[in-house]
Amino acid sequence: MEPTKDQTLWMYQKMVTSRRFEEIIEKIYLEGKTPAFNMANGPIPGEMHLSNGQEPVAVGVCAHLNADDVVTATHRPHHQAIAKGVDLKKMAAEIFGKKTGFSGGRGGHMHIFDPDVNFACSGIIAQGCGPACGAALSRQMQGKPGVAISFLGEGAVNQGAFHEAMNLAGVWNLPVVFVIEDNAWGISVSKEDSTAVARNDVRAAAYGMPGFYIENNDPYAIFDIAGEAIKRARDGKGPTLIEIETYRLAGHFMGDAEGYRPEGEKDALFKKDPIPRMRSRIIADGVATDEDLDAIERKAQSQVDEAIAFARESDLAPDTDALTSVFAA
């Protein structure tokens, strides 16, 4: 499958939006955290996992989704959230812990829920695999359209929850696609040190489903394979496993000294930054001009700025909100 012009520009725009969003989050995160870096301080406290470099995965997959489709994401959710179309203002406000955030500040950056676009994430490794199967089952049982995507990291694949969900998806022929972002690292542990096989696509056969590995963090290739997989799911032909080589340009979380990375790894990754690469290709393919893309970038920037301003200006929830929303209203 090849993206249309609109799809191509949509993918580029979402990649840029995600990148700009995280660049500013990164800056604000450090406010109040210097000279002494203490996670608890500043307008954005807690852990912060950036997805810079991994944007192609999110856009290549989500280009095929609409609001009805379901996405379960991970502790590193921003790029996926943005590609799935979550409300950027509410997400920013959530990250700032404000009343106007999705949960009014109860959840935070690892717990972004936008029910309008069926987006959820969680801080526990592989915890989204089962819920994705459940949403897919719900659609299958109700005869309603919609597929579910479970994103996870290459380190997460060794968690039992992944295996159980893969088997369930296989045995019940569920409309679900498992998408592994292989950024080579699970915090400080390399894929080689954690995983008995070099590529997880070979694990698909263990569940009777097709498996694919996509190299080189390429949004076009991702669009292609993911599109086929999502179509198969929509057609009732069952689940697929896709692993995608991607790059984590930042540390595992902010504050990570990254001493475990081999010399030179980061430089090499930055040289392959997918955003300039896609920009060049768009131009080379004659799909859009530099001016078109500049306009897209400006638009992305202004959306991000607006969202951040909204978050900054919003009020905190009252302290006592901590005690509500434990049960359904």
């Binding site: 379960t72 949960s103 109860r106 959840g107 199967c133 949403a135 049982m141 434990v326």
Partner: protein, 339 residues
């Protein structure tokens, strides 16, 4: 109603649960059941018997032995508009899937600020007494009740079993429904006759979060749950013969906990004995005592007591297991030792 008809509706808890689920599935398309051996077998403990025939394999769904997968799938389905009932065959197995329960099912409503509800029922069997040893006999009430975001109930009889199950399926929050094997009415597990009571045919609800005074008394308050209630009632009978009037409270629900009913009873009797088949320390028995004493210690005439499972794994040999289990005589002895 003639005696005959009344007796026909003297249900086991297993049958009461199955009828409740059946009626709710008839009334609400969104309700379905998942679990191990809940289809052709009708549930190892009989609580889904007959449902496969009526509703078919799509809505009565045997699962692989993958508790994490199917419980978290239930969460995903519940968030997508379904109302799943899932079975964890024995509460003892919670360790293989507790993340899906306490960190996912129980917290997504909070994490989403109410944006997402998780209307599902997790039913699970508890309890020992039939020598099924240390990985198949635990109650673990405290383990579930300690963690926020899930309601926790446990019926002591068929009437409550049906009404609580219906209430649980209609609740928009996740409910953990713990049924005691010894009360289930499966012959092969023994049968506590007191659990089989008249059970109305029409659908009804028993309120979650409300304790019941199942026997009134003035001298001592006996507090129990599930099998504990029957032990308390039997102890109350013995005590009555000794001229002691015991009030018995069936907690019915651990979360929410009806603290008021317990406090009011102790305010009247001045004495408290908590009976719990779960491990003694850091559990239900401590919480009930703390609830009463932190409210107003002066209402207690003497130190409260507990008759709970000692802090040891559950032994297999019948004599050892029976030695550890709460029973009416231990409750009577606890009363007798009060000064």
């Amino acid at each position: 109603m003639s005696d005959n008809i009344a007796n026909e509706r003297k249900f086991t808890i297993a049958r009461a649960m199955a009828e409740s689920i059946q009626q709710e599935m008839q009334a609400d398309e969104r309700v379905f059941v998942m679990g191990e051996d809940i289809g052709a077998l009708g549930g190892v403990f009989g609580n889904t018997r007959g449902l496969l025939d009526e509703f078919g394999k799509t809505r009565i769904r045997d699962t692989p032995i993958s508790e994490t997968a199917f419980i978290s799938a239930a969460v995903g389905a519940a968030q997508d508009g379904m109302r799943p009932v899932v079975e964890l065959m024995f509460a003892d197995f919670f360790g293989v899937c507790f993340d899906a329960i306490y960190n996912l099912m129980a917290k997504n409503t909070y994490f989403s600020g109410g944006g997402v509800n998780v209307p599902m029922v997790l039913m699970t069997s508890t309890g020992g007494g039939y020598s099924d040893a240390g990985q198949h006999s635990q109650c673990l009430y405290g383990s579930f009740a300690h963690l926020p975001g899930m309601k926790v109930v446990s019926p002591s009889n068929a009437y409550d079993a049906k009404g609580l199950m219906t209430a649980a399926m209609r609740d928009d929050s996740p409910v953990v429904y713990m049924y005691h094997k010894g009360l289930q009415g499966m012959g092969w597990l023994g049968t506590e006759a007191g659990a089989q009571v008249n059970t109305p045919e029409e659908s009804y609800q028993v309120e979650i979060g409300k304790a019941k005074v199942v026997r009134e008394g003035t001298d001592v308050t006996l507090v129990g749950l599930a099998m504990g209630v029957h032990n308390c009632l039997k102890a109350a009978d013995i005590l009555a013969k000794q001229g002691v009037s015991a009030e018995v409270i069936d907690l019915v629900s651990l979360v929410p906990l009806d603290r008021e009913t317990v406090i009011n009873s102790v305010a009247k009797t001045g004495r408290l004995i908590v009976v719990d088949e779960d491990y003694q320390s850091y559990g239900v028995s401590g919480e009930i005592i703390a609830t009463v004493t932190e409210h107003d210690i002066s209402k207690l005439k003497t130190s409260p007591k507990r008759v709970a499972y000692p802090d040891v794994p559950i032994p297999y040999a019948r004599n050892m297991e029976q030695f550890c289990l709460p029973n009416p005589n231990k409750i009577v002895a606890a009363y007798t030792s009060m000064n």
